[in-house]
Amino acid sequence: MNWQALALSIKLAVIVSGALLVIGMPIAYWIAYSRWRWKFLVESVVALPMVLPPTVLGFYLLVGMGPRSPVGRLWLRVFGHTLSFTFEGLVLASLIYSLPFAVQPFAAAFRSVDRQLMNASATLGVSRLRTFARVIVPLSYAGIVTGLVLSFAHTLGEFGVVLMVGGNIPGVTRTVSIDIYDQVQSLNYAVANQTALLLLAVSFVTLSVVYAVNRKVWVL
């Protein structure tokens, strides 16, 4: 089994789900409480990666990161290399790709918090940020865990986008799903099977955690 690829995928998934916790919470807060009439447009943009085929995202990322796009040129000038075929490039791609899997559970949880508790907190003179930290977050922990775990699992299983912008460099962009694909292509069915089984088990455990947390099997 290719432990290097597995370790790389886990590293990618940890970084991406961690970053999405930070980026996703303010977005989810805004989506949950904003009354802006065009909010639905933002919600659609956030949900887009769920319905778009990875080829669409992969294609735009490949061209966008390339030296012929303005963004790619700028990046090249500042950092001396393009984002394609780098680990940072995969992180960026995965952030976009897994965004809805974090933001949507967060927003759903925030929305279900009793408004009266928030109002009570406000009348006691507590700031919005403190209310968020002391009232909303503790009451939304199941949704936050769900978003965190789903974005972790989704990044771990990402294939199409990585295939299109990764370049399959061992230890840098050869993730576990790419490795499984390569093993199948090389007709090493036994090795492919080992890795695939492990990924299957990890995915099952991950989803079980999500459902267990939501059923409040363990009181935290």
Binding site: L62, P67, T82, M164, G167, N168, I169, L187
Partner: protein, 257 residues
């Protein structure tokens, strides 16, 4: 009203009958044949009135699919090993195995590249402006194996190893370079000559004695639906007309090697 209804029905019935007469085959082919075989299939369709449906992809993928019962009528593989294996295991008709040509590899750089491939040859790969070199994955893509062998025989492999990015197949490898994400790549000659890449870059043919021959072969799988038409198509690919197309894209018949 009634008459027009009747005549409409007649027209539909006739059209359906005609549709049933024109036969159709499905051909699975390695992606290096994308352009050559499309041209050849058009020629065959014009000549015989039959339809050819083309599926392009990696030879290894098609091999697995045929092994698992996919009903392709003809399989064109970029590596003769796959059809040989199918024939050996009885999944394809051994007598139809035909080596139709051999592929060549080239160094390819996009337009605007500072590299003068004609002058530099393989040493272009060591130029400081080259940060990424795209080749097909040597683990399973025939063109990747050839690229790696060529790099090894020029004693360059260890020096450029850290710069390699691997395409899933030779077409994706071409994408990596054509989009500018890699500065140079080792591609199939057939792709370098294809209309989509022609004006977009320059190429230099890598000496064919630096890598084992990329023998390409076709075979008719046992699960083929229309074996007679599949044979007719293979016969057509043998005609001088179709051979000229193959040669134009850089596939040379084996006897010219």
């Amino acid at each position: 009203m009634r008459i027009s209804c009747c005549s409409l029905f007649l027209v539909i019935a006739l059209a359906a009958a005609q549709g049933a007469q024109a036969a159709e085959i499905t051909v699975a082919a390695a992606s290096d044949l994308t352009f050559a075989l499309t041209d050849i299939a058009h020629g065959f369709e014009r000549k015989t009135g039959n339809q050819v449906r083309l599926a392009f992809g990696s030879s290894g993928n098609f091999f697995s699919q045929i092994e698992n019962g996919a009903a392709f009528d003809v399989f064109f593989s970029a590596d003769v090993e796959y059809p040989r294996k199918l024939a050996a295991s009885g999944l394809a008709i051994a007598s139809t195995l035909w080596v139709y040509g051999s592929g060549r590899i080239v160094l390819w750089a996009p337009v605007g590249s500072p590299l003068d491939l004609g002058k530099m040859g393989m040493s272009a790969l060591l130029d400081p402006s080259v940060r990424r070199i795209a080749i097909a994955n040597p683990a399973h893509a025939p063109y990747g194996r050839a690229a790696k062998a060529a790099l090894e025989s020029f004693k360059l492999y260890d020096q450029v190893r850290g710069k390699l990015v691997l395409g899933e197949n030779i077409s994706q490898t071409a994408q990596f370079v054509a989009s500018g994400n890699a500065q140079i790549g080792i591609l199939a000659l057939s792709l370098a000559r294809a209309p989509t890449l022609k004006g977009k870059g320059t190429y230099w043919e890598i000496p064919s004695d630096s890598y084992p021959p990329l023998e390409q072969a076709a075979i008719i799988p046992g699960a083929a639906r229309d074996k007679a038409l599949a044979r007719a198509f293979l016969d057509y690919v043998r005609t001088p007309e179709a051979q000229a197309v193959l040669r134009q894209y850089g596939f040379h018949p084996p006897e010219e090697q």
